[in-house]
Symmetry: C2
Subunit: 199 residues, 2 copies
């Protein structure tokens, strides 16, 4: 049941003016004047983001590779799936191939695209692409000297328990771990995404 | 295995200066100078956000209430679970009680806190609280005249299929629907969160 254009028209907010209010190294912040379907005018503030990619690195034997790294905005080190921002003109699969290797030291001989989603619809246009990586072998890329990243392998059962206990709190990683659970327990689901578990 | 303070110290980035670079009606944007554990200095740009709450409204008979509304940053109407920003000094449960009623017309006689997570760790400190609402009865609050919100009831199976097909793309709603699936198929899980299905 995708949203069709007819139903969309009733909702649409039309931009009447757009202003870039902050241009940083990472963030581009805009404040637009918009006309609501009711005719009233209001402002919308939001981030324009290049998009990102996140990966579920499957180690075999029901284990995933997570990474722990510091996240300044929330002032703590978090357990996450490997992820990274898409560089200009890059295919998200290239992004995640590089990030996987830089953050975990593994290169994947098999990568499957699963889905994409919006992490933050209230104030960002970011679109995040989710991949499954398997048949992992030692790669050659290493993290930037200033990126402190710790590898944390764990079973999908441990990861799920950390999700439901609130220990893993990063939304993209929660989504990836819930997908991994479904992939590992549902053969028909694996077939749909052309995933084979070689064990 | 929660992160402990000892392991956290190796990762910590210390703020040396903080500048508010944009102060809008919705967004507060900061650019901080930070010292990395390696001693190098860099900048971090991020949003300070008051937090938000999201709810899984359970209609009974394996059905949830979703809402469709326009999201200007992504320029389309999205199917989501009801949610809203926390007002200053407000408990997130008050927030979600109000938002549920405004967006769906239903008041909940039972609300359970499930979890909280960070939707956007790369550039926002937002924390999002997830609730389960059941025993729904007609309420009295109505949406703001300028908020166009459509109610879309559906079974958890339909919602799950829309998640895996990429039709539901909002991260907080994906997480809520995957929780709802687990709640509806696992009696032990329900017990853990003191959820009873009165049917």
């Amino acid at each position: 049941m995708p949203t069709n254009h007819e139903s969309e028209a009733r909702f649409r907010e039309e931009m009447s003016a757009s202003e870039k209010v902050f241009s940083g190294r990472l963030l581009q912040v805009f404040r637009d004047r918009v006309i609501l379907p009711t005719g009233r005018e209001t402002t919308r503030e939001y981030i324009r983001h290049p998009g990102a990619a996140v990966v579920i690195p499957y180690l075999g034997n029901r284990h995933l590779m997570l990474v722990r790294q510091y996240r300044y905005p929330v002032a703590r080190a978090l357990l996450e799936l490997p992820a990274g921002k898409i560089d200009a003109g890059e295919d998200p699969q290239e992004t995640i191939t590089r990030e996987l290797e830089e953050e975990t030291g593994y290169a994947a001989r098999s990568i499957r695209y699963l889905n994409r989603f919006h992490p933050c619809v209230g104030y960002s246009n970011e679109l995040l692409y989710l991949y499954w990586a398997s048949d992992l072998v030692k790669g050659s890329l290493t993290p930037d000297a200033d990126e402190i990243i710790e590898n944390v392998p764990m079973s999908v059962e441990e990861a799920l328990e950390m999700v439901f206990a609130g220990v893993i709190s990063d939304a993209k990683s929660i989504i990836g771990i819930l997908w991994a659970d479904r992939i590992l327990r549902d053969a028909e689901f694996r077939q749909r995404f052309e995933i084979r578990l070689a064990e």
